[in-house]
């Protein structure tokens, strides 16, 4: 119900200029929404007490949340059922790491996807995806330090300093750390323009994470190169190299208001 009254309360701050800019788009979407509301049995956007499913985004977001937890759930059940194969620690490391990288790239894909599709709501999933990427990076690091190295911790520092793949992997985690702790709305408000600047660290973090994968494989680089290619493609899309001007214009109209609230990233 982005055009309804309920949204203001949920979204918080909003500048008058942005409201104006997006008025036309908002009105158009509102008309569409009215039709779909008649079809669904959702309460009216004007209902005074918001309920959980007042906004269609909530159930979708819950489903996305559950989907993001699925790789972890499978990792845990496979571990408990001894289904991780011959070298379970290597599997735990690989699977947690690959999901950190995938979610990080998915986070980076939100803005280009939003521009291409014109579906502005996508940005509402970005923080969640980014935090899950960091979460899996933490799981990955914890498995390496606590389970794999277990007892041989003197190797850790040497590894991080001497092994480029470890250096870049650990750096990626370090870069994500401040992004995770400044991901709240309050921090966003407090940091203002600097928030956006800070959160540009996500690009080097994703690049380093992909390099971490590339540099640890012995010979067959096809899979890590695929992730690097996806990263490069996302960067090109972001640089407006690929998206035709018309699509850009359309998405600007469609996402006008949210642009003011959710910094481009």
């Amino acid at each position: 119900m982005r055009a309804g009254t309920g949204e203001k309360g949920e979204r918080g701050v909003r500048s008058p200029a942005a409201s104006q800019r997006s008025f036309a788009a908002a009105a158009r979407t509102a008309a569409k929404r009215r039709t779909s509301q008649r079809l669904s049995r959702l309460p009216s956007p004007l209902s005074p007490r918001p309920t959980l499913f007042r906004n269609r985004i909530v159930p979708v977001k819950l489903a996305a949340f559950a989907a993001c937890l699925l790789p972890l759930a499978l990792l845990v059940t496979d571990t408990l059922r001894d289904q991780l194969g011959t070298d379970p620690v290597a599997q735990l490391e690989h699977r947690s790491g690959i999901w950190a990288l995938r979610l990080l790239l998915l986070t980076l894909a939100i803005t280009p996807l939003r521009r291409l599709s014109g579906y502005a709501q996508l940005v509402r999933y970005r923080r969640m995806l980014g935090l899950f990427a960091f979460f899996y990076a933490c799981v990955h690091l914890t498995i390496y330090v606590a389970i794999d190295l277990g007892g041989y911790w003197d190797q850790l520092l040497a590894d991080i300093v001497k092994r480029p793949y470890m250096t870049v992997g650990f750096s990626a985690w370090l870069l994500l750390f401040p992004l995770a702790i400044t991901s709240t709305r309050a921090m966003m408000r407090r940091l203002g323009r600097n928030w956006q600047r800070l959160h540009r660290l996500v690009y080097p973090a994703a690049l380093l994470a992909a390099l971490h994968f590339l540099w640890l494989v012995k010979a067959d680089q096809r899979e890590p190169l695929l992730y690097l290619a996806i990263f490069a493609a996302l960067m090109l899309l972001r640089a407006n190299v690929v998206i035709p001007a018309r699509a850009r214009l359309r998405s600007q109209n469609a996402s006008g208001r949210s642009r003011s609230e959710w910094p481009e990233g």
């Binding site: 991780l84 011959t86 070298d87 620690v89 389970i147 470890m166 012995k218 010979a219 067959d220």
Partner: protein, 280 residues
């Protein structure tokens, strides 16, 4: 891991267990040793060899022997092996990637076999080549290495009593994915030196070119002796994850890596006076 209940495929082999070649502690399960290994001719995943090697035909098998020796030619596998009694030896196997296993091999000492070809004084090295059968080995379509797979040993390494030409493991013939019908086992070297499905043995004067060394000469030396003091440029070789036994094995697998994989007493003298950091 249901190793106990599942019969091991392949013909059983009777071999005398050599007690001097033993490893204290548990062995790797048959399932793990045969379903988690590197054999890029069948794919680069460690489960690929077991899955993609069923079309491979290891019988009948001949080996071409060439180079600086009085006896050369093409020999049936049976004729190479038959003159010697089969031995079972339990060896540690340390992969350059940082994991290790304990595997009971069956075979004959390579030196005993090579001696019968009467290598000449020009035979300074032994060059080994894996069979090249793209129709039976799907991994050969992917140029991760310069095929066919080539390995090599200095002649004294090849003649060393620890060096085994294996035709079996776990009391049975080698399965396709582990190098059937004939492979090299050099337990003091990283696992990739153990050339599989050997099709050609050549006595040469110059140090032969080897696949991994050509793929990355700074990462994989010709000798590739297990050495905790010489790291792989990209990762440490100080410790290893030991894959042994059955059941739940998430914790406590890491152990220190030993010089020459624990076989220093037997083989260190081969490298006396050599700078092992340069000759890695």
């Amino acid at each position: 891991m249901d190793t106990a209940s599942t019969p091991i495929p392949g013909n059983p082999l009777s071999a005398a267990r050599r007690d001097e070649f033993r490893v204290d502690g548990p062995m790797t399960s048959y399932k793990d040793a045969t379903h988690y290994n590197n054999y890029f001719e069948f794919g680069t995943g460690k489960g690929d060899p077991a899955q993609a090697s069923s079309a491979f035909h290891p019988h009948p098998w001949t080996v071409e022997v060439a180079g600086h020796a009085e006896v050369t030619g093409r020999f049936a596998l049976e004729d190479l092996i038959k003159p010697n009694a089969l031995e079972e030896r339990i060896y540690r196997m340390r992969c350059v990637e940082g994991w290790s296993m304990v595997i009971p091999w069956i075979g004959v000492p390579m030196g005993e076999v090579l001696k019968r070809f009467k290598p000449t004084s020009n035979a300074k090295y032994v060059a080994l080549t894996t069979v090249n059968r793209p129709t039976e080995m799907p991994g050969l379509g992917v140029p991760v290495l310069d095929w066919p797979y080539r390995e090599g040993l200095r002649i004294d390494e090849a003649m060393h009593p620890l060096t085994l030409l294996a035709i079996g493991m776990y009391g049975h013939e080698l399965p396709n994915q582990n190098g059937a019908p004939l492979r090299l086992v050099t337990p003091w070297k990283y696992g990739f030196k153990g050339c599989k499905a050997i099709a050609r043995i050549e006595f040469v004067e110059q140090q032969p070119k080897t696949s991994w060394n050509e793929a990355g000469s700074d990462e994989y030396g010709f000798y590739s002796n297990v050495n905790p003091d010489v790291d792989h440029p990209r990762w440490s070789q100080r410790t290893e994850r030991r894959i042994v036994g059955d059941g739940f094995s998430v914790f406590g697998n890491r152990i220190p890596t030993l010089p020459f994989n624990g076989y220093a007493d037997a083989v260190a003298s081969l490298y006396a006076g050599m700078d092992l950091r340069r000759n890695f």
